[in-house]
């Protein structure tokens, strides 16, 4: 019975929990509710993934109205995969959130924080699960509005301006997206993604559809912070409360990438848009520039949260590069990096959350001697950093390997070389932190061992050990990503 309604439960449970939080108001009660809800969501998403693996695509018609008139939810391999990523990050972040949020967010605003976390998760899950292009916009705005609020909860006033800029850019991006959807509707009369995929090829040659594609691409590229539309991201990540950064970095951009994949490979899948309109080269070029620019700027950051944010830009470059290859190998490399990057960047930002919790700053200079003071936390940073570089035995290696193989399959060997070189830039920025934390003697702070609380260190290590585990056993994730990519590419034909 429940099984049949899993797709809607996935979205409706966090959505309903959000207003309850507002009524509860009590920080601990709201936290408990949010945590439980995030775990239920995780259970549902895993259940869904298993169903999809066993029985293929699930189609759920809301209110019994059949598509294309009604809104339908569709769970295929790809969306089930992204659902699991989002919910598992949520499930790990919520227990962590309690202490971190108490430290970095005013007490009387804590219930807003949990409400917004739930709404944000609702939006992200909705984007992933919906089969309707306009519905996707609505969920996009739900998650975005929630994340603007989350960022502005920071006690640092720069959090406010970061949230404001993100609001402006995000709204422009979302509006671009609905312009694109509107233009498609104009030509096809449909908003259903699967239906659009069938109708688009007939009208693909018109200028309206080409304009639609341009609006959709730019809009989503803004949301996923593809270079050069990334300006909102570094400050938003750097000045948001740490736990918000963890959640957004690990999920929000990933879901935006998912939406992008849906548009490019499902809606426009029928006409193989990457090749027919030459966007392939453009995307690949932007991705490569992002890889280098992101890493290079990261090297010069003094705020480590900001540094990791720039590193995210570079990692998004890897993902987009994989997608731009337009092959099963490339897409699955991109998708597997989606997961892997969520693990390692989530873990790294959690480390920074622990650091901020203890020393109240994310500045590099203040981190001197942390290797002695917080050995466990910093060990997690080193492991996460190794993964970011792409050292074997970590997830970073698996995704870089998959990406390199896909690139070489295409015969783009200079690009392969660039990937390797850009990894070396990651060595530099990770090493800077290691050097300061382990080899620089702190000026004032005591060298006493002073570890972050267990409830924060444990989730950090869950993510970091997952980053190691899936590095040893990379094929589990690669298989799922490969299946998802294969479904998408089947849509290409």
């Amino acid at each position: 019975m429940i099984e049949a309604h899993l797709p809607i439960l996935q979205v409706i449970i966090p959505l309903l929990a959000a207003p309850i939080c507002v009524f509860l108001r009590h920080p601990v009660a709201t936290w408990a509710l949010t945590t439980v809800v995030s775990w239920i969501c995780l259970a549902i998403s895993i259940w869904l993934l298993q169903q999809v693996q066993a029985g293929g695509e699930i189609i759920y018609e809301i209110g019994g109205w059949a598509a294309p008139w009604g809104i339908e939810y569709r769970v295929d391999m790809l969306s089930a995969w992204v659902l699991v990523i989002v919910t598992s990050i949520g499930a790990v972040v919520m227990p962590y959130a309690k202490l971190s949020a108490e430290k970095e967010i005013d007490r009387d605003r804590l219930y807003i924080f949990y409400t917004m976390m739930l709404l944000c998760e609702t939006g992200l899950l909705g984007i992933t699960i919906t089969g309707d292009a306009f519905n996707l916009f609505v969920f996009l705005e739900i998650s975005s509005l929630a994340s603007y609020v989350l960022i502005s909860l920071s006690q640092d006033r720069r959090g406010l301006t970061a949230a404001y800029r993100y609001l402006i850019m995000g709204t422009v991006g979302a509006t671009f997206y609905i312009i694109g959807v509107g233009l498609m509707y104009m030509m096809t009369g449909s908003l259903n993604i699967a239906d659009l995929a069938k109708l688009i090829p007939d009208v693909a040659a018109t200028r309206t559809i080409q304009a639609a594609l341009a609006f959709l691409t730019v809009g989503l590229a803004l949301k996923l912070a593809l270079f050069p539309l990334h300006f909102w991201l570094p400050n938003a990540y750097a000045f948001a409360p740490s736990v918000v950064t963890v959640f957004l970095a690990a999920t929000a951009t990933k879901v935006a990438v998912y939406a992008f994949v849906r548009i490019i490979f499902t809606v426009f899948g029928g006409i193989n848009i990457l090749q027919s309109l030459q966007i392939q080269d453009l995307l690949a070029a932007l991705a490569i520039v992002a890889m280098f620019a992101g890493s290079a700027v990261a090297i010069y950051q003094t705020n480590i949260k900001r540094m990791l944010a720039y590193s995210s830009l570079a990692q998004i470059g890897y993902i987009i590069l994989g997608l731009s290859l337009n092959s099963v190998g490339g897409i699955s490399a991109g998708l597997v990096h989606l997961f892997n990057h969520a693990l390692m960047k989530g873990g790294l930002f959690m480390v920074m959350g622990c650091v901020v919790y203890k020393i109240g700053s994310a500045k590099l200079d203040d981190m001197a001697g942390l290797g002695k003071r917080m050995p466990v936390t910093m060990a997690a940073f080193v492991l996460g950093g190794l993964s970011l570089i792409g050292v074997p035995l970590t997830v970073g290696f698996v995704s870089k390997w998959a990406l390199l193989q896909a690139v070489l399959d295409k015969g783009w060997w200079p690009v392969a070389l660039l990937i390797v070189i850009s990894s070396l830039l990651a060595v530099v920025y990770v090493w800077r932190v290691v050097e300061v934390a382990y080899f620089k003697v702190p000026s004032t702070a005591a060298m006493e061992k002073d570890e972050a609380p267990f409830s924060m260190v444990l989730p950090t290590f869950i993510l970091i050990s997952a980053a190691i585990y899936f590095g040893l056993d990379g094929t589990t994730a690669l298989d799922i990503a490969g299946d998802a990519a294969a479904t998408l590419v089947r849509g290409l034909k």
């Binding site: 306009f134 301006t161 404001y164 609001l167 402006i168 709204t171 312009i179 509107g182």
Partner: protein
């Protein structure tokens, strides 16, 4: 037909571009939000125009009505308007808080203060 038929679209494009221009060029945070509104409204108009069927009336079920406009875009735009209102109010709320924190709502002055910090 050519120009006049597309007349509404020209207006929409003009609104869209001026809205976007205001967002980018204005220094004042409130004006930026006004620009954002202009930009969004142009999109609302785009959808509504799209639903119009020449000679059609409002989509009401009645005996003597055979040709009526497509109601779906209107419904969609109701949703979009709600989203737009939410965005605007959140944006304005942020501006109020920024004013409390920085004492100004001019973008360049805020940047200056952040650089000093």
């Amino acid at each position: 037909m050519e120009f006049s038929g597309l007349f509404v679209y020209w207006i929409i494009v003009a609104l869209m571009m001026s809205g976007l221009y205001i967002v980018i060029a204005q220094n004042n945070l409130v004006k930026k939000i006004v620009g954002l509104n202009v930009f969004q409204v142009s999109v609302f108009l785009l959808y509504i125009t799209m639903g119009k069927v020449t000679g059609g009336t409002a989509p009401i079920l009645a005996d003597n009505i055979t040709v009526y406009s497509n109601p779906l875009p209107h419904v969609l735009i109701l949703t979009a308007i709600v989203v737009g209102v939410a965005t605007t109010s959140l944006g304005l709320a942020l501006v109020v808080r920024i004013h409390e924190a920085y004492g100004t709502i001019e973008d360049d002055e805020i940047l200056e203060q952040d650089d000093d910090a």
